[in-house]
C-alpha cells in the first residue's frame, strides 16, 4: 500500500499518540431487532431497571417543568411517569417477553407503537402531538435498555470511532480504558475534545469520513499533534510512531521533574497555575502534574453521571472529597452551568439556547437546585480551601442576588449547626461581553473573577464554536479578544484586591501563554495534562518581555499580525517544545 493512502486528516483536538484497535460507536437509531433471548429473567430485570431509570429521569424533569412551564404543560411528564407504571401496558410487555422470548426493546417498541398508531389515525391534530409524547417515553425506555448494553459491549484499550460524542458519551467512555477518540464532526472546543484533553487521551475531530473508512478491529494510529489518523498502518509506520511514543515518554519524564517547582518567570513574577476538573477521576492527574489547586471544577458532569442532579448529601461527599484530596491548595467550584451546548435537565427546546436559559439565569429560576448546590459546597468548605463561582453573569443584580442566597444558606446551615467557611470567597465567570465591559464594577462586588474564553470569544465574535461552517472565524487571537482580555484585567486591577484568572481553553494554548502572562493575569487554569508544559513555558519567560509583547499585540489590527508576533516570540525565546520531536 502506498504510504499516504491510509492517512486521513482531521482537527487535532487533544495531543498524544496512540496505537490501538478501533471500536465503532454507532449513534444511529438502530433498528430494534426482534432477536430471540435465552434468559427471560435477565430480560425482565433489565426492563425493570430501564423503567426505574426512566422514572428517575422524568421525576426530575417533571419537578423542574412544573416550576417553569406550569402545571398544564408539565402534565405530559406526569403522564409519562404514569405510563411507566401503567398496569395494562407493563403487564402486557412482561407477558409478551415471557411468551415470545424476544428482546425487551423489541416488545416495548412494538407494544407502545400500537398506541401511537391509534393516535396517528385520529383526525384531531392534537392527537398527533400526543403520539410524539408517547414516542418520547418509548424512546427513553429503549435508550435506557440499550445504554446498559452499550456499557457492557465497550472493550478496554480501544480507539472510539463515532459520528460525534456528547459529554455523556465521553463520561461513559472515561470509565473504561479508552486510548483515543476519532469523530466525524465537532471542533476544538467541543466538550468531547475538552474531556479528552483533560484525561490526556489523544483525539481527532472533524474527520468527516471516519466512520465510513474504519471498521471494527482495524488497527489505528492517532497522531493527536497533527490531527492525523492512520488506518491499518504498515510495519514502517508503526515503527516510526513507536519511536515517537518513546521520545514523548522521555519528554514527559523531563517535564515531570518540574512537578514541585513553582510557575514563576525568570524575573520573579509568580503565576498561580491551576487545573480544570471535569471528572473526579482526573484528581490523580492534577496532583501528579503538580497543579497549585483547581481553578475550575465543572459540576455539569455530576448531573451527567447521576442523570438527576444529586442530592445535597451526595454533592457534599463529592466536594468534600475534592477538598481533602487537593488540600491545602485552593479549589474553585463553579455552580451548575447548563444550557447552550450543555445538557439541560429539562426537555425544553429553545430556538437559540446559547442566548437562552443557561448559567446563572437557570440557577436563579431553579432556586431549590441552586440552594442545594450552594449548601453542599458550604458544608464541604470546612477546611477553608473552597471557593464558589457562578457562570454566565450578565448583570450586577445577578451577583448581588447570588450573594444574598449564599447568606441565606449560611444562616440555614448555622441554625442546623453545620460547620462551614464563613469567609468563603465568592467569584464570577466573565464570559459575556457585557460583563467584560463592566469588569471594574464586577471586581468590586466579588473576591475573584475568572475569564472564560470559550464563551467570551464566541459571544464577542458572534461565532458558534460548534458550527463547522464558521468555526474558522472563532479566533483566540482576534485583536478584539486580546483587547477585551486586556481590558478586563486592567479594570479589575483598578478595583483592588480582586484576583483575576483565566480558565478557558486558550490558557492551554502554548502560543497564548506569554501573551496572557504579559497582560497581567494572576492565575491560569488549564487541563491537568497541560500543566507541565505550561509551567515549563512560564519558567522560561521574562515578565518584562511578555509585558512588552502584550503591549505590541494590543496595538495590532488583525489576527495575523498578532499570531505572527507570538510565533516569532516563541521561536526566539522558547526554543523547546513538544513539536520539536517531529
Amino acid at each position: 500500500m502506498n504510504k499516504s493512502e491510509n492517512i486521513f486528516r482531521g482537527i487535532a483536538a487533544a495531543p498524544g499518540i496512540t496505537i490501538a484497535k478501533a471500536y465503532i460507536y454507532s449513534k444511529k437509531v438502530e433498528k430494534v431487532q426482534d432477536d430471540p433471548i435465552e434468559d427471560v429473567d435477565e430480560a425482565l430485570s433489565n426492563l425493570d431497571e430501564a423503567l426505574e431509570k426512566s422514572k428517575k429521569e422524568l421525576q426530575k424533569v417533571f419537578s423542574l417543568a412544573v416550576d417553569k412551564l406550569g402545571e398544564n404543560r408539565a402534565a405530559i411528564f406526569e403522564a409519562q411517569i404514569m405510563i411507566l407504571d401503567d398496569p395494562v401496558l407493563i403487564d402486557t410487555i412482561r407477558t409478551r417477553i415471557r411468551d415470545e422470548k424476544k428482546l425487551p426493546e423489541y416488545i416495548v417498541d412494538d407494544e407502545i407503537s400500537k398506541y401511537q398508531r391509534l393516535m396517528d389515525e385520529a383526525e384531531e391534530t392534537y392527537m398527533k402531538e400526543r403520539s410524539h409524547d408517547i414516542a418520547d417515553i418509548k424512546n427513553r425506555i429503549i435508550r435506557n435498555l440499550k445504554k446498559k448494553k452499550w456499557q457492557s459491549r465497550i472493550q478496554n484499550d480501544v480507539v472510539v470511532i463515532s459520528d460525534y460524542l456528547t459529554p455523556a458519551d465521553t463520561v461513559l467512555f472515561s470509565r473504561v480504558n479508552v486510548r483515543g477518540y476519532v469523530t466525524n464532526f465537532g471542533g476544538l472546543t467541543s466538550h468531547a475534545a475538552i474531556v479528552a484533553r483533560s484525561l490526556n487521551i489523544p483525539a481527532i475531530v472533524g474527520l468527516h469520513e471516519a466512520t465510513s473508512k474504519i471498521v471494527n478491529d482495524d488497527i489505528i494510529i492517532i497522531d493527536g499533534f497533527h490531527g492525523m489518523v492512520i488506518i491499518n498502518p504498515s510495519e514502517s509506520q508503526i515503527e516510526y510512531y513507536k519511536d515517537k511514543i518513546e521520545q514523548l515518554r522521555l519528554y514527559d519524564e523531563d517535564l515531570a521533574k518540574l512537578k514541585n517547582k513553582p510557575a514563576v518567570t525568570n524575573d520573579g513574577r509568580a503565576i498561580l497555575l491551576q487545573a480544570n476538573l471535569d471528572l473526579t477521576e482526573e484528581i490523580a492527574l492534577v496532583i501528579q502534574n503538580g497543579a497549585k489547586g483547581i481553578g475550575l471544577v465543572r459540576t455539569e458532569q455530576l448531573f451527567q453521571e447521576y442523570d438527576v442532579f444529586p442530592e445535597e448529601d451526595v454533592q457534599y461527599v463529592i466536594y468534600k472529597d475534592i477538598s481533602e484530596k487537593v488540600y491545602p491548595e485552593k479549589i474553585i467550584i463553579r455552580t451548575l452551568d447548563v444550557g447552550g451546548d450543555k445538557v439541560l435537565p429539562v426537555d425544553v427546546k429553545e430556538p437559540n439556547p446559547f442566548l437562552g436559559w443557561r448559567g446563572i439565569r437557570f440557577l436563579l429560576d431553579n432556586m431549590e437546585l441552586f440552594k442545594t448546590q450552594i449548601r453542599a459546597i458550604l458544608r464541604a468548605s470546612e477546611h477553608k480551601n473552597l471557593k464558589m463561582m457562578i457562570p454566565m453573569v450578565c448583570s450586577i443584580k445577578e451577583v448581588r442576588r447570588f450573594k444574598e442566597i449564599v447568606a441565606e444558606c449560611k444562616a440555614e446551615l448555622e441554625a442546623q449547626n453545620y460547620k462551614f467557611d464563613n469567609d468563603i470567597d465568592l467569584g464570577i465567570m466573565i464570559e459575556v461581553p457585557s460583563a467584560a465591559v463592566m469588569a471594574r464594577e464586577y471586581a468590586e462586588e466579588v473576591d475573584f473573577i475568572s475569564i472564560g474564553t470559550n464563551d467570551l470569544i464566541q459571544y464577542l465574535l458572534a461565532v458558534d464554536r460548534g458550527n463547522e461552517i464558521v468555526s474558522d472565524l472563532y479566533q483566540e487571537f482576534h485583536p478584539s479578544v486580546v483587547r477585551t482580555i486586556g481590558h478586563i484585567i486592567k479594570e479589575a486591577k483598578v478595583a483592588g484586591n480582586c484576583v483575576v484568572s483565566l480558565c478557558g481553553e486558550m490558557a492551554a494554548d502554548t502560543l497564548a501563554v506569554p501573551l496572557l502572562v504579559g497582560l497581567g493575569l494572576d492565575s491560569l487554569s488549564v487541563s491537568a495534562s497541560a500543566i507541565p508544559t505550561i509551567k515549563k513555558i512560564i519558567r522560561n519567560l521574562n515578565f518584562k518581555e511578555t509585558e512588552e509583547l502584550a503591549k505590541r499585540c494590543l496595538g495590532y489590527r488583525t489576527e495575523k499580525e498578532i499570531k505572527n508576533e507570538l510565533v516569532k516570540f516563541f521561536d526566539e525565546k522558547l526554543n523547546f517544545s513538544v513539536h520539536k520531536i517531529f
Partner: protein, 88 residues
C-alpha cells in the same frame, strides 16, 4: 355493573391532565373501569389507553364500572366529568 353516558363539557376536552386524573381516581377503587368511545373500549386504569381517546368538547363517552365498590367509583369519577375536569 354500572353503565353511564357522559358528555365532555370543558373547552379543552379530555386532554392529558384530566386523563391522568381519571386514571389516578380509578386506581383508588377495586372496581374495573371501562371507557368506550366511537366503538373503542379501553381500560380506565391504563393511562396510555385513556390517552388514545380523542374526546373533544361535546363528545359523548360511555363509562362502565364493575366491582365491589362500583357505586362509589362511579360517583367519584362521574362527578369529575360533571365538573368539567375542574376547568369550567
Amino acid at each position: 355493573m354500572i353503565e353511564r353516558e357522559v358528555k365532555i363539557i370543558n373547552d379543552a376536552g379530555l386532554h392529558t391532565r384530566p386523563a391522568a386524573t381519571i386514571v389516578k381516581l380509578a386506581a383508588k377503587f377495586k372496581s374495573d373501569l371501562q371507557i368506550t368511545k366511537d366503538g373503542m373500549t379501553i381500560n380506565g386504569k391504563s393511562i396510555i389507553g385513556v390517552m388514545t381517546l380523542a374526546a373533544e368538547k361535546g363528545s359523548t363517552i360511555y363509562l362502565s364500572f364493575d366491582g365491589e365498590d362500583e357505586e362509589e367509583a362511579a360517583k367519584t369519577i362521574l362527578d369529575y366529568f360533571h365538573r368539567g375536569f375542574d376547568e369550567l
